[in-house]
Amino acid sequence: MLELIRQLGATALARLQSLGAASIFLWQALVAVPQPKASFLLLIKQLYSVGVMSLPIILVSGLFIGLVLGLQGYNILVNYGSEQALGTMVALTLVRELGPVVTALLFAGRAGSALTAEIGLMKATEQLASMEMIGVDPLRRIIAPRFWAGFISMPLLAIIFSAIGVIGGMLVGVDWLGIYSGSFWANMQNSVEFYDDVVNGIVKSVVFGITVTWIALFQGYDCIPTSEGISVATTRTVVYGSLAVLGLDFILTAVMFGGF
């Protein structure tokens, strides 16, 4: 029994310690002032590999989720004679919740794990150490551009996801199931508030973007530089990142929409 308590304490301390290390890591990567011209090019390159490369999965997922929302929503609402509310339902669900959250989960799986693996591999092949030996800080050159790329990409991807999802809902509701297009859009516009819903959704996705990118980069940087270590690190990125997103989503939703 005592042993269990001791282990619990040891685990908690270890977690706290790595949280502290992760915070220092982030601080050093970001507060380090970058050289503007060179780092802009690096940022562009990272925006491509982090943002643009995630577009296909976001577009396809957004479309399908919008289609399914339209179908399921219609099936439920038609029982109450409220099919015209489909636009409202699809739009609010996407903009407030599914857009930021599902995008963040997909991002953690696709871009996050790619980042972790890339940095872990750089660590394992001593590229980070040799960069340090040449006198260039790898936190500034490798980590910082990737962080900003994630920070910028996530909200954009979430917005795109929501937009495509709404279009998907429209395709099902209006084009297939025959809801009158005018009431679909009018009801939606009346119930979706830009500042309360869309902007809050964007705020959520910014928070998720910071969290997932931070976790992905730290796991790669901190991993044991063997192939097994990299595999553990990528798994951790996806798992911790996803759990963090879901947990933060609850807190943010309670604050934004629950009136706390």
Partner: protein
């Protein structure tokens, strides 16, 4: 060379993102029509606002003429004080108009409907609409119905033709 196509792709990504944002702003949330209308303030007092919320519609004959800007408790008169923002081009609402809280559909949201009166004097910025009708509260309706039913049963032997239908519109007098 390769950088060129890279920058193109990233630029495209940003453009798609911003376009999606505009789509969400205008098509999905109807932002532009909300922002552009200048309006004036009118105050209304209700006994019970039901589920009315800030940003609910204000309509006349079904046409949106404004929004609910603020809802607060009037501590002196102990009822709800609702601030309406009515578009400037709707400036011929007479002072004896009636403002009621209505429901859109069966389970729909609450909104305010204004029925114009006959007066020559029109409401200006800061004025108050005197005549109001509160929201229908389901429990009150059921209570009235049961009460009337009970009354009807009591006087059933005297052949009283009871009108069980409760008065659905309770005029509020202040």
């Amino acid at each position: 060379m390769r950088t060129r196509s890279l920058e193109l792709a990233v630029g495209g990504f940003l453009i798609i993102g911003i376009a999606a944002l505009f789509f969400l702003a205008i098509k999905v949330s109807g932002l532009s029509s909300e922002l552009s209308q200048p309006s004036y303030k009118v105050y209304v007092h209700f006994q019970n606002i039901g589920g009315l919320t800030v940003r609910s519609k204000v309509t006349m004959s079904g046409v949106t003429i404004g929004r609910v800007a603020d809802i607060e408790l009037d501590k002196k008169r102990l009822n709800a004080k609702v601030t309406l923002e009515i578009y400037n081009d709707v400036n011929e609402i007479s002072t004896d108009a009636v403002a009621s809280i209505l429901t859109a559909g069966l389970l729909g949201e609450k909104y305010i409907g204004i029925v114009p009166g006959a007066d020559d004097i029109f409401i200006k910025n800061g004025d108050e609409i005197e005549q109001t009708q509160s929201a229908l509260v389901l429990e009150d309706l059921i209570g009235k119905f049961l009460f009337n039913k009970a009354t009807e049963d009591k006087s059933s032997n005297s052949n009283a033709a009871a009108t069980p239908a409760p008065a659905a519109n309770s005029q509020d007098d202040f």
